[in-house]
Amino acid sequence: MLESRIIDALKEIVGAENVATETQDLLCYSYDATQMEFLPDVVVYPGNTEEISRVLMLANGESIPVFPRGAGSGFSGGSLAKGGGISLVTTRLNRILRIDQENLLAEVEPGVVTEHFQLEVEKLGLFYPPDPASLKFSTLGGNVSENAGGPRAVKYGVTRDFVMGLEVVLPTGEIIRTGGETYKGVVGYDLTRLLVGSEGTLGVVTKIIFKLLPYPEAKKTMLTTFDSIDGAARAVSTIIGNKIIPTTLEFMDYATLQCVDRRFNLGLPVEARAVLLIEVDGDRELIEKQAAKIHEVIKPLGLVEFKVAKDAAESEALWKVRRLVSPSLRDVNPDKYNEDIVVPRSKVPDVIRRIEQIQKKYDIPIVNFGHAGDGNIHVNIMIDKAVPGMEEKAHEAIAEVFRAALDLGGTMSGEHGVGLSKQPFIPLELSPTQIATMQAIKKALDPNNILNPGKMFPVG
């Protein structure tokens, strides 16, 4: 519990109507998409950079933990107030400050919802490609802090690749700008890159300058079905090996297809064992050629069906298969651990085989789908927490999945981040020296360890 003088001071900074202390309010800011719950002592909704700066100065002086939060849709517990403190909600900072058509950039506040930003730039014929699954509700501040990815990362990259500059409030309350409005710039350390994906542990992002692209002229969606998981996995590297970089290359394994089919009756061929959803975009003539070439090169890999969308409505129908995955999964088991390992894309077939072995060994259903084009597989370990011992078994299986990804030259998380959920596994991937280096940076910027403490690094 925070002393009432602290609450009063917070009210003085942001206004009484922007400070919430009722239990019901706190409960509604205690969770994210991990389903973990930690109650903050107070929820604060600042309205601008200066207010955030003053909140952090107060918190730093009083050694009160501060947990930056956007939409609370993260998959790692990164925004949760473990141990209590201030939940700092940035959704009131929700303006698109400018869209610069000559320099192809935009400056936004962190509380802008990703899709809202995309739609605004698209009105001007511009394109902001990062498309995390949560884009309709997640905030750009959250995307930057977690370095969010998405299906289009295969061709366009992740959030990091679009951040040109930031305004950030440091844990001690000082306001700095990093990067800027030019693509080139080599003066000093690249603090922008350091801050993107730092999970709110190094600073609170208050303004973001994003790079934009011209909106592609056209796109083409293809749903391709294979008679083996290996065929689908090999198709990924074959397509790219043939010098075609699709916008997306989404993969669904047999378990995933069965889940969706049971509920929504997809009418897939009986031989179907894996599906790749492929999209190419760009110049109208070019994508026609690319689609034909893709068909040609994947045909020998056990292709059993090749569907091409003729228009936007048909494209939407093909995407529907992918979108139906989430609601279908819970028919397997009520609870799930959603991991997001990455391997070099040529190793996708190997990692899938390793996961199959792990599934057999632990006798737990594992459903795999995701962004095969960049080697990012969503590994869903489906369990029923009510069954004694299943949760423990799942934890062991997860550790093995991570080891498999690391053995193959990958990483344990491509998009979701460490936060709380991957904390115990960090030593599998990072060496003590790597961790110590990161901790030294953390200590330099946040000497009193008040900003999102207890996250990312191993505990104890």
């Binding site: 919430a20 009722e22 239990t23 019901q24 309010d25 409960l27 509604c28 800011y29 205690s30 969770y31 994210d32 998409a33 389903q35 909704y45 939409a71 609370g72 849709s73 959704t91 009131r92 919802v113 899709e115 949560s134 309709k136 509700f137 997640s138 989430s326 609601p327 819970r330 009520p334």
Partner: protein
């Protein structure tokens, strides 16, 4: 029994992904998590675990739901937040008693005679605003009830309720469908022209139209306040009234009444009163929206809807949209000669009426509605058309407040232009 027990299984489905934040109109207005569907579900989960109580704060959070079903439609895990909120409100009502307003609502909707005396307007419509009369007119009446703000006005009531105007059975051609018309309060007391249009259209198709005199309010205003005893009473009376005639279809021209009969009767009333379930389901299966049925029966709007040139835009009532009825009314309207449809931005967004929501949150309801008015005006249409008299009332209010002269019409009024 704790009403939340009825939704115990449903409560577990929510994984707090946050997808509802993109679709919940209450969240869009307040921008705070307790107003989002996810927040309300989280609080209901904690109510169930009994680590919060049914105090004012819980009450406040649960009051911030329009029961529009937008979140239910878009939820990746199919969490029925509308059903959960109804159960939570029921629990609140049981533990704390109904509010003065909801007591009045219950008293009035249970009693048709009271309603006929204009109490309907006073108790329900009064607080639900209504500004049919222009601000400059001295005819605007203020209504002195404790829960009615100083600026709210009584609507213009029809001189004679729809149900008193027609015989119970209006025979059609032999071999043509027999249709029972569930009229609903708004059509009966305020927008009688909607009822007349429905009647004209189905008679034009040769249908026998039956208007049971003893039909009651559908009960949704009571459900919205957690007064499930009243809803059960009304549902039973309506069952009796609707079962009395062998009908091929039960037709509604009000999205909300249709939603009640089609969805909420089995889902909420049936769950609490299993002995009624089979009958409720039978009624639900026969219930169809007027526009949907007209299309199904092959109405030619080219014949019935022809008229002067009229530019329109269409608003999707939540309780049609969530039942998948979005295409049919548009197709019919576009088939009416003279009618030119321009889509507004966010046609599928809730207008903010939300049953009794706007009694407690009038300012927020206005705010949601203002966005709607703006979208309507941007199209430049002469009329906004919709399939729900509740939405009509709300849209009229919003447009009047924006100083616009845009007409508000029901789909059926357009389709029956030539039949008058």
């Amino acid at each position: 029994m704790d009403p939340l027990k009825h939704v115990e299984k449903e409560l577990k489905k929510c994984v707090k992904c946050g997808a509802c934040r993109a679709h919940c109109p209450a969240f869009a207005a307040w921008q705070r998590e307790p107003a989002a569907a996810r927040g309300k579900v989280a609080l209901a989960q904690h109510l169930m675990k009994q680590d919060i109580t049914l105090d004012d704060q819980t009450y406040l959070a649960m009051s911030k739901c329009l029961l529009c079903g937008s979140c239910v439609e878009k939820c990746p895990n199919e969490v029925p937040t509308d059903e959960i909120v109804i159960a939570a409100r029921e629990a609140l009502a049981q533990r704390r008693g109904l509010t003065t307003f909801h007591k009045a609502v219950g008293r009035v909707i249970r009693n048709r005679k009271l309603m006929n005396f204009g109490a309907f307007a006073a108790a329900i419509l009064g607080p639900l605003f209504f500004r049919k009369v222009p601000a400059t007119s001295g005819l605007r009446l203020r209504f002195p009830l404790p829960f009615v703000g100083g600026k709210r006005h009584i609507p213009q009531l029809a001189k004679k309720p729809f149900l008193n105007r027609h015989p119970e059975v209006i025979p059609g051609e032999p071999g043509k469908p027999r249709i029972v018309f569930f009229v609903g309060c708004m059509t009966n007391f305020v927008y009688t022209e909607v009822g007349e249009a429905a009647l004209a259209l189905f008679r034009h198709l040769g249908c026998t139209v039956i208007i049971p005199k003893d039909q009651q309010c559908c009960g949704l205003p009571g459900m919205s306040g957690g007064d499930l005893a009243t809803v059960r009473e009304l549902a039973e009376k309506n069952l009796a009234a609707l079962e009395k005639y062998e009908a091929d279809y039960i037709m509604t021209a009000c999205a909300t009444c249709g939603g009640a009969l089609h969805k909420f009767y089995p889902l909420v009333v049936g769950k609490r009163n299993p002995e009624l379930m089979a009958r409720l389901k039978a009624i639900a299966e026969k219930t169809v929206d007027a526009a949907q049925l007209l299309q199904q029966l092959g109405l030619h709007p080219a014949e019935t809807g022809a008229g002067e040139k009229l530019t329109i835009t269409y608003h999707d009532p939540c309780h049609l949209r969530t039942r998948g009825i979005t295409r049919q009314p548009r197709e019919l309207l576009q088939g009416a000669p003279g009618v030119e449809l321009t889509e507004m931005e966010g046609a599928d967004k809730c207008c903010g009426l939300g049953g009794t929501f706007n009694v407690y949150h009038y300012d927020t309801s206005l705010k949601i509605n203002a966005g709607k008015s703006e979208a309507i005006l941007k199209t430049g249409a002469e009329a906004v058309v919709t399939g729900c008299p509740g939405c009509m009332m709300q849209l009229s209010d919003g447009l009047k407040q924006a100083g616009a002269r845009t007409k508000v019409m029901h789909t059926l009024e357009i389709l029956a232009r030539k039949l008058h």
